[in-house]
Symmetry: D2
Amino acid sequence: MIVVMQPGAGRAEIAEVVARAEAAGLEVHEAQDDGRAVLGVIGRGAARLRDALAALPGIERVVDVAPPYPLASREFRRASTVVEVGGVAIGGPRPVLIAGPCAVESYEQLLSIAEAVKAGGAQLLRGGAFKPRTSPYAFRGLGAEGLRMLREVGDRTGLPVVTEILAPSDLDLFVQHADVLQVGARNMQNFPLLDEVGRAGKPVLLKRGLAATIEELLLAAEYVLARGNAKLILCERGIRTFETATRNTPDLAAIPVVKHLSHLPILFDPSHSAGVRRYVTPLARAAIAAGADGLLVEVHVKPEEALCDGHQALLPAEFAALARDAAALRAALP
Amino acid sequence: MIVVMQPGAGRAEIAEVVARAEAAGLEVHEAQDDGRAVLGVIGRGAARLRDALAALPGIERVVDVAPPYPLASREFRRASTVVEVGGVAIGGPRPVLIAGPCAVESYEQLLSIAEAVKAGGAQLLRGGAFKPRTSPYAFRGLGAEGLRMLREVGDRTGLPVVTEILAPSDLDLFVQHADVLQVGARNMQNFPLLDEVGRAGKPVLLKRGLAATIEELLLAAEYVLARGNAKLILCERGIRTFETATRNTPDLAAIPVVKHLSHLPILFDPSHSAGVRRYVTPLARAAIAAGADGLLVEVHVKPEEALCDGHQALLPAEFAALARDAAALRAALP
Amino acid sequence: MIVVMQPGAGRAEIAEVVARAEAAGLEVHEAQDDGRAVLGVIGRGAARLRDALAALPGIERVVDVAPPYPLASREFRRASTVVEVGGVAIGGPRPVLIAGPCAVESYEQLLSIAEAVKAGGAQLLRGGAFKPRTSPYAFRGLGAEGLRMLREVGDRTGLPVVTEILAPSDLDLFVQHADVLQVGARNMQNFPLLDEVGRAGKPVLLKRGLAATIEELLLAAEYVLARGNAKLILCERGIRTFETATRNTPDLAAIPVVKHLSHLPILFDPSHSAGVRRYVTPLARAAIAAGADGLLVEVHVKPEEALCDGHQALLPAEFAALARDAAALRAALP
Amino acid sequence: MIVVMQPGAGRAEIAEVVARAEAAGLEVHEAQDDGRAVLGVIGRGAARLRDALAALPGIERVVDVAPPYPLASREFRRASTVVEVGGVAIGGPRPVLIAGPCAVESYEQLLSIAEAVKAGGAQLLRGGAFKPRTSPYAFRGLGAEGLRMLREVGDRTGLPVVTEILAPSDLDLFVQHADVLQVGARNMQNFPLLDEVGRAGKPVLLKRGLAATIEELLLAAEYVLARGNAKLILCERGIRTFETATRNTPDLAAIPVVKHLSHLPILFDPSHSAGVRRYVTPLARAAIAAGADGLLVEVHVKPEEALCDGHQALLPAEFAALARDAAALRAALP
């Protein structure tokens, strides 16, 4: 950790930093650079002193050297993590396709979509039973009833089920019915929820928040890993920027950046990023070419009757074409 | 609601929109504008059809006319809402000062800070017992023990207590010990939590999310109002932008914008926006001049020993000076 | 164009809008929606009245229906534009590779890189003679001398030359030496410069500004087209967001969005988006898969000796591998 | 300057950094921190080696210690700079008001507005003769004719004149007619223009770009200062973010941040930030309370007939009230 002092900082202010660092068993190296003191604070646990040092008088800023997410880092684990779900390997050589409706609306709707996406090439089924909605007047899902439908349809079609959990108190219900617990973008920093899914032992799919940096995504991952759950899959789904032509700006750089910094697998959700059907396929193709470990795609048989986000759902035939594209693109890469 | 068709949309596509709107009891007016059809969809509940229409083929975009947050809107209630907490009016002519430490660290720490901020001019005490922290390795608060300390210190000093709730299941505990339930920026769209505090009947302080638009803040407010709780106070605390000189960019325009669009009171938190002590006072002054109903300020007696965010805490003397400034600025305005 | 009145707007305020619209030869349709008047202002040239209407009392907002860039729009020209430069078709079925150093440093440096990128698969040569630099103390290019080197090396290797123009007064010099005039991201809204390159008759490569929306990019394109120059190529190069892991966030959605809204070809610059060598290739692959018409890539034979942006330059062997990837990815798509 | 090596970097890679630094006459201190080497590169001119070092293999990142804008920095000049324009001190104890129309439309329009703002308390007159417009079809100003009107009206009313220059080749014309040369937000990084106004010797008003960091604003200032022109005034005018309720998000933190980092005066433009009349006054008040050295405000006598941005122009009476507020707020501060 590096502490840059203000230009006018005196000996007393530097001495205070040194005293605190040494009291914590750390070593301090001092240098002068362009008229200001720069202190290298070295040793295990230096990061824990970060806030205390930053609050001292005479400090300009504190610069971290090591990543603050040790367990999620590529340094901790050189080999890429592969998460297995019902026989499907996520993070392996073949990109994984997770598809289904935004929301579970009925048993018939879910079954018809599940059969369609399976035929089209999906390996897992997605669908929301508890839906986070920006407006309190929007459809918020079928709840526990929807979870049971997911389980039944998943079993009937042989597709493992991915679904979003909103509240820590629902954990038992989800552990019983879901194969992968999804933590949505709005809950990426819902820490009680991260604690719970970290303790669950089930695979977790953690989506990047709209305004979360990649470092914060990896820190949220660290919560789950630190609770002992290593079956963790990340997902980029677009970030909020000034551009309004798409619902969110797809930060496809997050894919190679996460692969450089971390050992965890990372998927891409083109549906929430595009926000409109016509841009879903090109973005999904781009993510595969960028190295994504798979896609999380919304599909509906009758988008105009969907209770949620029909405008961004692919039709089954479009999804099947995308699955073919994904395989061809992966094969085209070295 | 206005539906703009794509330039090439044909009669069949327009007819489909009309059919669905009329089936929902709505009226449709059609006009041609610059080579494309524009449909005015008029009537109560038009907004509920929004997603279904947006998913139809041939649609370019759907434009809302009415705000999607009826209860929070200024149209619903012309007079500004005043929320009373323990005899203090929030939203009235005098700006309210809520101050205290980032986190409750001990009874002694809390008491000394509470006495200092009361002497300096604070009318309510803030302090975190359950702390949301970006890193799982950071201090996460004293929990229920911290809540009890807040209650005791609040009672002893006569300052009503504001503190952040993280999980819906903690509601009873908070209702028992806190005077105002704070929903933090990271939880602005934690809908199960909004539902719970909406049912609690206690005053709620809702902070704007880092990446939330003002419209989304008002939609989150609508959750609380729709559950029957009208004792609602909003709080701007900075948004995430590309600028890194401050922790978050203070969107002080949110203050007059919220006052134009809504009847709810709005505070400003200069501490989380600045992220560094030296900028807290100028930003706090600016917010008062922009018309904020009060401030939520972090204060610590020994910032360099704080377990959380000491670098952005004012010292008691700085807080007292800010309180004098706030009163003088308000008095200087017409 | 649609004018949404404020909820309380009276007949006099509505009448004023109607009077002004009718005076401009436009038709007005009025409807009531959720308690406010909505006026459809219809007819040729309605957009020109936009600002005047927005300034009237009682107006909530004005919503455009038609795109404000008629010549750049897909409606104006259904077929995609192909720009030919020295026998190379940009916007055709094959993605085009434009490569070379950030800055021309010497004849030898430029020649060795030009030969390397030609061997690797580049069809055009890029290189800066006049460099826009954030700091006044950085290397700003060889100027006119650099332009002459580009011309000589371009002629010797048979690669047409793309280079950035900074000042309108340099136009003659650039027309003489360059094959494509590049307008950089910082100059996307340098309107005197757009006017000049619009009159030049030479192909223009217009890069999206760091904070420009896609609509503003197309409006900047409209400047060039409105001056009579239809040989226009767009280029996405990343936008500024809160994420700092890359130099800019690659908005790859801009590729399908521009293809939907406009007939102009669009390239991608992975070098300025990534800002670091290790992310250039995955982003470039992603852009090709998203449908980009080509790439603009920085390549250097000795990046560590580059006077400009060596950290983001590919080595010749990396570029050749990328060229193979681009061809394979395009072939894999339907 | 601090060089953080990648975790796996070997001796050869470290030796290469050391060799290059020492060849440039710099000293290198090495330390190990959390498993990676950290090199302090110390000495005059270290920053010039930045890019070359960043391009070497084995480097994670390079961290600057000193600000890259020496002449603009507060370290270079402890006392705040005061720029005098026609007897008006900008940067002194009294906030300065610069007001006038967006664009000069006619002699009569300009004169009536100039007289109104003078009566209301303005000390300088603003008005655009060459207007940068997003659309090529919008009114682009009266050009040289407008400049002459500004000069005449300025002389007649005794108000020094501030107006925007767009092209370096127009410098002589502007030096002849204007008292302050404004460089607009879109041209903040138009380096040929910065060079020219840096050589002009006339006071320069430099506006922050929509997507420019405060550091980049100070680097643009450095261009002007490095050309020998110290009569430089900065201006915050809002940045581009995801929020659309205002035209741009006012980053009022820029005011105390610039005052901390630099000796240059800083104004605020509430008109372009708000983008709508009703929010101009609260934002302007906030800027004064945050410590701004003055305001740049658009005023029009008949906003609904303005050829440019009438919707954000104050009426003369509103401006006069704002001038009273500004004086009262400044007086209320210590």
